[in-house]
């Protein structure tokens, strides 16, 4: 009796593994996802020179105005940034969202030209030439977007370009719900 069970053991193991793999595939589990430790915490320090010469520098106060703010790290050399750019234009024009841009490892002229050519969705933009602010924000690359509520707490963190789906399922509900 127990001998028959012993023969079933490899089959059961196989079934267990197949089940796990099927679950991983169907649920869309991504073992490469970095996750974010920023969500639920106060936004990291923001202290950057403005992209446009003569404008006031970016500061923490801009993230604690009582109204939700989006912070978008971008670069003119970044193709996915180009892909998500129209969504930010829409957020600004149709939803009146406050978006702060940070040009990451980008030359001032390149970033300025990029915004001039495509349209500027940002309330104000800063320049993080060496990527030091990016590191403080737990950035892995561009583009990445943070949604910060009126109290300066990070509520959403998108790694990679935002999509139409992100907009409809997370960003718009956040902007409507946050005070």
């Amino acid at each position: 009796m127990s001998r028959r069970l012993l023969f079933l053991l490899p089959l059961m193991t196989l079934a267990l593994m197949a089940g796990f793999f099927a679950w991983s595939l169907l649920v869309g589990r991504d073992p490469a996802a970095i996750g974010s430790v920023m969500v639920g915490r106060p936004a990291p320090r923001l202290d950057l020179p403005a992209l446009a010469p003569g404008e006031p520098p970016l500061s923490d106060a801009m993230l604690r105005t009582g109204k939700p703010v989006l912070v978008n790290f971008f670069a003119s050399w970044c193709a996915p940034c180009l892909a998500e750019h129209p969504l930010f234009m829409r957020l600004k024009e149709r939803e009146g969202a406050t978006i702060i841009g940070v040009a990451w490892k980008n030359k001032r002229d390149d970033a300025t030209q990029w915004l001039k050519r495509l349209g500027d969705p940002f309330r104000t933009a800063g320049l993080d030439l060496e990527g030091k602010t990016g590191l403080d924000w737990g950035l892995s690359g561009v583009p990445e977007t943070y949604a910060i509520d009126g109290n300066g707490i990070v509520r959403l963190h998108f790694r990679g370009p935002i999509t139409e789906r992100d907009l409809n399922e997370s960003l718009l509900p956040f902007l409507k719900g946050a005070k």
Binding site: I34, P44, G131, K132, W137, G138, S140, G141
Partner: protein, 154 residues
């Protein structure tokens, strides 16, 4: 010449093994600090390249992280403080050696536990088999004795 082959291979491997992505311009002048930075850098995971340490990766972020490690060390941080600095920004994901906590319990204890379970199962099975097949032969029953006698009768 033949005998030299392993040596040459060994030397080549040694060269490859030390082919870090750490650029000379990044290195600290203080050799002791730089050595600590290397040890830390090899234990930190580059966040965009799956399973490379930041010392092995030439990604932009890995470069920034190496620089930050050196800045922290120069500022007088201990190794643990540098790790904490990175974990505060990127979470446990940056540690190539995952910490021991509730969410990693299966990872750390699963292997040894399986070994113990399988090992004790093997021991139990071996013990049973020995009991079932005793080494000393059983005496014949009366019926068997009769059959044997009949067979051996000339």
């Amino acid at each position: 010449m033949r005998r030299l082959a392993p040596l040459v291979l060994g030397a080549m491997l040694a060269v490859f093994a030390s082919a870090w992505a750490v650029e000379p311009s990044e290195m600290l002048k203080d050799a002791a600090l730089e050595a600590r930075a290397r040890t830390i850098g090899q234990a930190l995971r580059c966040v965009v390249c799956q399973n490379q340490s930041i010392d092995d990766s030439s990604a932009e972020v890995a470069h920034d992280m190496r620089r930050a490690v050196r800045e922290r060390l120069t500022a007088g941080d201990s190794d643990d403080q540098v790790f904490a600095y990175m974990v505060a920004r990127y979470g446990d994901y940056v540690l190539l050696k995952p910490p021991f906590k509730m969410s990693t319990l299966v990872l750390w204890l699963g292997g040894p536990l399986l070994l113990i379970v399988a090992g004790s199962a093997l021991l139990v099975a071996a013990h049973r088999r020995r009991q079932q097949s005793p080494t000393s032969p059983q005496p014949l029953t009366a019926e068997e004795r009769q059959r044997l006698d009949a067979l051996l009768k000339p």
